[in-house]
Symmetry: C2
Subunit: 312 residues, 2 copies
């Protein structure tokens, strides 16, 4: 009888792996280096070898393993096919088929942000819900949509790529994606710094942020908590841009809950307040009751979600 599953989160520098029981208890986690040379050809063989080693070490037979779930950065469709994951050097191929061939164990694969959303639904900030939007506010802005308990992948695995939704006309700075005025440009960690610098440059209003050469999202929200008026204006602007856009996303997928994670979310519940109060005025009645919560799994969300993929 199958008693275990593995969750794998492939990142640009390390691969995180977790061994779970079928109740979702994380029994052990470890990391290996991501070898991206030669089109990333070593990545899945390395993953397979590491899992087989762990199975040998723990005396787990193939029959004891329900499956191996994999999350990776890049567009991955519902069939486990990746389409050009540039960070890993990968072109287009079936992660599911290749890793299944190496392991002789069932494999599922999905986009890392979507898989992390599933992890937060299962064991994190979204527990108890099956219609969820996960928003990751880090260096960039990522997202993952869970609809009726399943990952929404979309046509080419690009569903939930909410960081590049257009939210601002007239933006002069280009986003990393080549467009102008993307959500990420204002609500990522670097986006919040952009808002703060622009606000500081607008006039001479006093602020504890003035003269600080290393403003970060953290210093902005620390200043908010200390009552700095200018920082509060920046937080309001951040909240209006993100809250309004989440209202629009709710108009599309009608979630029960938004789960906010990433480095910016370390600001804590105050972050949710700024988002939610700007969400309410814009959202359609049917989604007005959506909840807002902080992500709780941190960097483990990916391995949890990957494991969950093979349990469903």
């Amino acid at each position: 009888m199958a008693k275990y599953c593995f969750g794998v989160d492939v990142g640009g520098t390390t691969v995180k792996l977790g061994c779970f029981d079928t109740e979702g208890t994380l029994l052990e986690k470890w990391e290996i280096t991501t070898r991206t040379a030669n089109g990333g050809e070593a990545i899945l063989p390395d993953v397979a070898a590491s899992i087989l080693d762990k199975m040998k070490e723990r005396e787990i037979s193939r029959e004891d393993v329900i499956g191996v779930g994999v999350g990776a950065p890049g567009p991955i469709d519902g069939e486990g096919t990746v389409y050009n994951a540039v960070n890993l050097g990968w072109g287009t191929f079936s992660i599911k088929n290749q890793l299944q061939g190496l392991l002789n164990i069932p494999v599922e694969a999905g986009n890392d942000a979507n898989v992390a959303a599933l992890g937060e639904m299962w064991k994190g900030g979204g527990q108890g819900h099956k219609n969820l939007v996960a928003v990751t506010l880090g260096t960039g802005v990522g997202g993952g949509i869970i609809a009726d308990g399943r990952i929404l992948s979309g046509a080419t695995g690009a569903a939930g790529e909410i960081g590049h939704i257009h939210v601002m006309d007239g933006e002069q700075e280009m986003c990393n994606c080549g467009n102008y005025g993307c959500l990420e440009q204002y609500t990522s960690a670097t986006g919040i710094v952009r808002l703060a610098k622009r606000r500081l440059a607008a006039d001479d209003k006093p602020s504890s942020l003035r003269g600080n050469d290393s403003i970060s999202a953290k210093t902005v929200f620390d200043a908010v908590k200390a009552g700095d008026e200018l920082a509060i204006e920046v937080a309001e602007q951040f909240g209006e841009i993100l809250g309004k856009e989440l209202a629009n996303i709710a108009g599309v997928v009608n979630p029960e809950i938004f789960v906010i994670g990433g480095g910016v979310s370390k600001a804590g519940p105050i972050l949710l307040d700024y988002i939610q109060k700007n969400y309410i005025p814009y959202v359609f009645a049917g989604s007005r009751g959506a909840l807002f919560a902080l992500a709780t799994l941190g960097n483990d969300a990916g391995i949890y979600g990957a494991a969950k993929m093979v349990l469903d």
Copy 2:
């Protein structure tokens, strides 16, 4: 062996019904009056009686029927529970359970716009695709999302309610939903008239629309086809608002195709041109290749989609 299924589209004034074979051939369609008095208590019994009559007439036994699908206006979740369908007088109850009890045949139920989207995927403008966004430009703006071949219902059946996504700051006129600046206020049939009237009032630019007391979406697009410059400006504005918003929706659900229906879509392929050229500049690369097509099933989309629900 089951050979038939029924599709039911409950509207505010009539209920459309269709009898299909399991290949999706519409064998017969008919209508009954929607009796909304007393909280719409007669609606489902009337539907059941009409289906049982038709089965008797065609000598179809219960064993020959795979199921009955129902689409109705209002929030209906994935379990077939409706939450206050004001147009029908309905409160909150399980359409699925009630109609199954009346018919002793399996029933599925969903929001009418979502069900119509499924119909367009199955036998209409979206054939061959399983990730689709249907947009209905009529008196209002409705929508339906199909993800991996299934209706995306959301938490309370409000997924795809794209007409009330906020697209314009500073709007002074209130939308029917109580908010300001909803997509529907500019891109429905009445919304296009609003854009045209505002453009006409802005200056004295000559136009065939001037002095016309009964401007409609049709007259606007007829003028566009005749080369009227002011009408073309209105179409551009319509296209920019809708194309930009569809780009944002693509950032959430990454569809293969947008299927545009409703009365406004009678303008034909030129409508798609205005939408698509304004979609491309705003959309994230992963969804840039999405197709645009016109809906083809018209008022029958609902019964087709309802029938498809029970075949899946």
